[in-house]
């Protein structure tokens, strides 16, 4: 499929690049970053101009991010209201929303750069989780600048080895994402072990305290 889209870039130019990037920012499985690299490769060969390729990539990401955020925000009320009917779920939702408000900008920025495979999902979660549009945009737009410049630059620099470099970047991003999940799972595991240890110790401690009162 990637090859088919690559063959369409010389015909449809930056419009195709921008459109595919936009759709991939909505989590539609299309080779957005690959086409931006192809655009960078065509800039290097003199087939395309640098500024329109950069602009198409940047606008595609920004519009895609904002659309995903808006869709999730609009669907949020109905879905959340239904979920909040259960007290337990309502508490979990409140906690998740508080986390997004506290750490949202960092999550959005990282998901536009080193954790870019997670980008579309973070847009949806931000919209659904009630993260403010200003905070979302303040992290997403600089992230989009870095993302666009990185992939156009990589395409330009490694123009004659695009497939190899795309595969290498894909695996490197996979490694970063997996390592992040590993760290989070490790922290979760440690917290779980601590909680278990505290629960086992508490009855003895409580008994000792009771003994003192006697």
């Amino acid at each position: 499929m990637t090859e088919t889209f690559m063959a369409l870039v010389p015909q449809f130019g930056v419009y195709l690049v921008g459109m595919i990037v936009f759709l991939s920012a909505l989590a539609i499985p299309l080779p957005g970053s690959m086409l931006v690299m192809v655009g960078g490769g065509f800039v290097a060969s003199g087939d395309m101009e640098l500024v329109p390729v950069l602009a198409a990539a940047f606008l595609g990401v920004v519009l895609g991010d904002q659309t995903a955020y808006t869709l999730a925000r609009q669907g949020r009320t109905a879905v959340l209201e239904r979920m909040r009917r259960s007290d337990k779920r309502a508490r979990q939702i409140d906690r998740a929303e508080a986390l997004i408000r506290r750490r949202g900008m960092l999550a959005v920025f990282l998901s536009r750069t080193v954790l870019s495979p997670a980008g579309p999902y973070v847009s949806y979660v931000s919209g659904a989780g009630g993260f403010g549009r200003l905070g979302f945009s303040m992290a997403a737009i600089p992230g989009a600048v870095i993302w666009s410049a990185f992939y156009v630059g990589i395409g330009y620099r490694f123009a004659d080895h695009l497939s190899e470099i795309a595969s290498l970047i894909g695996n490197a991003l996979g490694l970063i994402t997996a390592a992040t999940i590993l760290v989070l799972m490790g922290l979760w595991l440690i917290r779980g072990l601590r909680d278990t240890a505290a629960t086992e110790i508490r009855p003895e401690g409580a008994a000792a305290t009771e003994g003192k009162h006697d």
């Binding site: 090859e3 130019g13 290097a44 004659d160 190899e164 290498l168 695996n171 996979g174 997996a178």
Partner: protein, 103 residues
């Protein structure tokens, strides 16, 4: 649950780390070779990859220099009746001659 997640993430880390290392080695080797021609490429792209002037490439492929900008090799193949393999051989040979300092 957390243990299973941790082990799964560990397996993924090892898998991706292995892939990255293998591809970095392959990428280093590939940088010394011209990239095989594919249907989506343009004459200028081939010119850049093989360091053969674009006008020479068009002449080798018996194509007029006035063709539309960004015409792909698939489209050129329909115009000149050559397969991409035939175009590849002509370009590779010309690049070899130019590298050897020939005219």
């Amino acid at each position: 649950m957390a243990v299973a997640g941790f082990l799964l993430a560990l397996v993924l880390v090892l898998y991706f780390a292995g892939s990255v290392m293998r591809e970095m080695r392959g990428f280093h080797d590939a940088q010394h070779e011209g990239r095989p021609l594919e249907g989506w490429m343009t004459p200028r792209y081939v010119s850049m990859s093989y360091r053969v002037p674009p006008e020479e490439i068009l002449a080798l492929w018996q194509i007029s220099p006035d063709i539309r900008r960004r015409m792909t090799l698939s489209e050129i193949s329909k115009l000149n009746g050559m397969t991409i393999d035939q175009m590849q051989r002509l370009v590779t040979e010309r690049a070899r001659v130019l590298r050897a300092g020939g005219q």
